[in-house]
Symmetry: none
Subunit: 226 residues, 2 copies
DNA sequence: TTTATTGTGAATAATTTGGTAAAATTGTGG
DNA sequence: CCACAATTTTACCAAATTATTCACAATAAA
């Protein structure tokens, strides 16, 4: 299990990150300021750190300076737009990556995966396996019977959403909210169309999964017992 | 018993949610505004909160901000479409899920189950078992003797309603109200027809349950002792 | 530009649903 | 035990609902 230290004084952001990283399969060590972070680091061996630059007691830059004395793990700096001025830029170069707030969960995950790869830390690769279908979240690639299948984004996201909890019914509303977002004004039929496209793709490739309609409710990724 | 705090100033919505969550087996703590909610939370340990964003005295966002200081439970925000503007979006990210009004009771239940799963709060088993009949609420599937049975929605709901309290008599009115809703204009015979359909389906599959008529009153799902 | 992706609307298909009425059952009083 | 009324069961049909599919336009990517 890959452990990630997350230091941010804003409980909402901390929570936001925690939830997303946890969902992605990481273990999160949370800290609300620099001192807290250092204390936690004494007891926990983390493989990566995500650090907000603005924090009370001990700010992010000082924290990083301290960490660098003893630790050699990749660090991602969180920063508000325009917060990094030239003087700090030299420092920023020392860190491994930075992310400007507000950022997307997806973006953070992507950076983390990239850094872990670069550092050859073997992240428990996030692969959802359902039957002989492997869904590689990192690479946006699906493998069926060792054959790779490249799906368009929306179809991939839909598959991923369903595959996270196989055999469980998701309503169209749920799927739309989680894939297209809350402000999507469009029609529910959109989901149907993408389901149809997924069905067509998987049609002759595998019998292990089935996109099942639950009339009046929604859709399920059904696993077929062999 | 999973307790859920529901904060909404509209008594109709509060009632609507309360009824549905209660029927789904949750215990509901209702509050009509933010302050009320906080007061209730001092005395009750809730596992999840459903919060309307527009409330008097203390609006939903402030309430959530307060809750976050001391509590770590998943929160579902109720919001009208377009009500979340950019400034609030950062906050929204901090919460766990949101639902756009108007929403379906079923949809709310789905979200709640999903969040409870994500937080590993063991939600009361989502499988109702009566004899050798397993009713899987998440999957909308019924299993009899390891054989799966897919029921049409209304039949499933009827079975579910009866199976929640086996050996208890439900009047047709009660069943109609809880399945079809109080606005249903139709005939009581509708229940009979669906009972008949259920009987036909389970006819050769199991002897463990029986749909019994209580003349002049209603129906029971009778369990047969072996 | 060419190609691929994505969402929409509309036609079509499939299934579910509710009502109806006749048949069957049940309970009651004679 | 029988007739009768009340109630329930059942089969069937038509309407309503819901899902599938396709073609196309808009947009984004190559």
């Amino acid at each position: 299990m890959t452990k990630i230290l997350v230091a941010d004084d804003d409980p909402n952001i901390l929570k936001f990150i925690t939830i997303n990283l946890t969902e992605a399969g990481f273990e999160v060590i949370g800290a609300t300021d620099g001192r807290d972070a250092l204390r936690k680091l004494e007891n926990e061996v983390c493989q990566l750190a995500v650090v907000d630059i603005m924090m009370p007691y001990m700010d992010g830059l000082s924290l990083i300076k301290e960490m660098r004395k003893t630790l050699d793990i990749p660090i991602i700096i969180l920063t508000a737009k325009g917060q990094i001025d030239d003087k700090e830029k030299g420092f920023e170069a020392g860190t491994d990556d930075y992310l400007v707030k507000p950022f997307e969960a997806k973006e953070l995950l992507f950076r983390i995966e990239a850094l872990l790869r670069r550092y050859n830390i073997d992240t428990d690769k996030q692969v959802i396996q359902v039957g002989d279908v492997h869904i590689d979240i990192d690479r946006y690639v699906v493998t069926v019977n060792k054959k790779t299948l490249k799906l368009p984004l929306k179809e991939f996201e839909l598959l991923q959403a369903l595959a996270t909890h196989p055999d469980q019914v998701f309503t169209r509303e749920h799927l739309i909210d989680s894939i297209w977002g809350i402000d999507f004004e469009g029609d529910n039929r959109t989901v149907d169309v993408h389901i149809k496209r997924l069905r067509t793709r998987f049609n002759n490739l595998t019998d292990a999964i089935k996109f099942t309609t639950v009339r009046g409710v929604g859709y399920t990724l059904e696993t077929v017992d062999t």
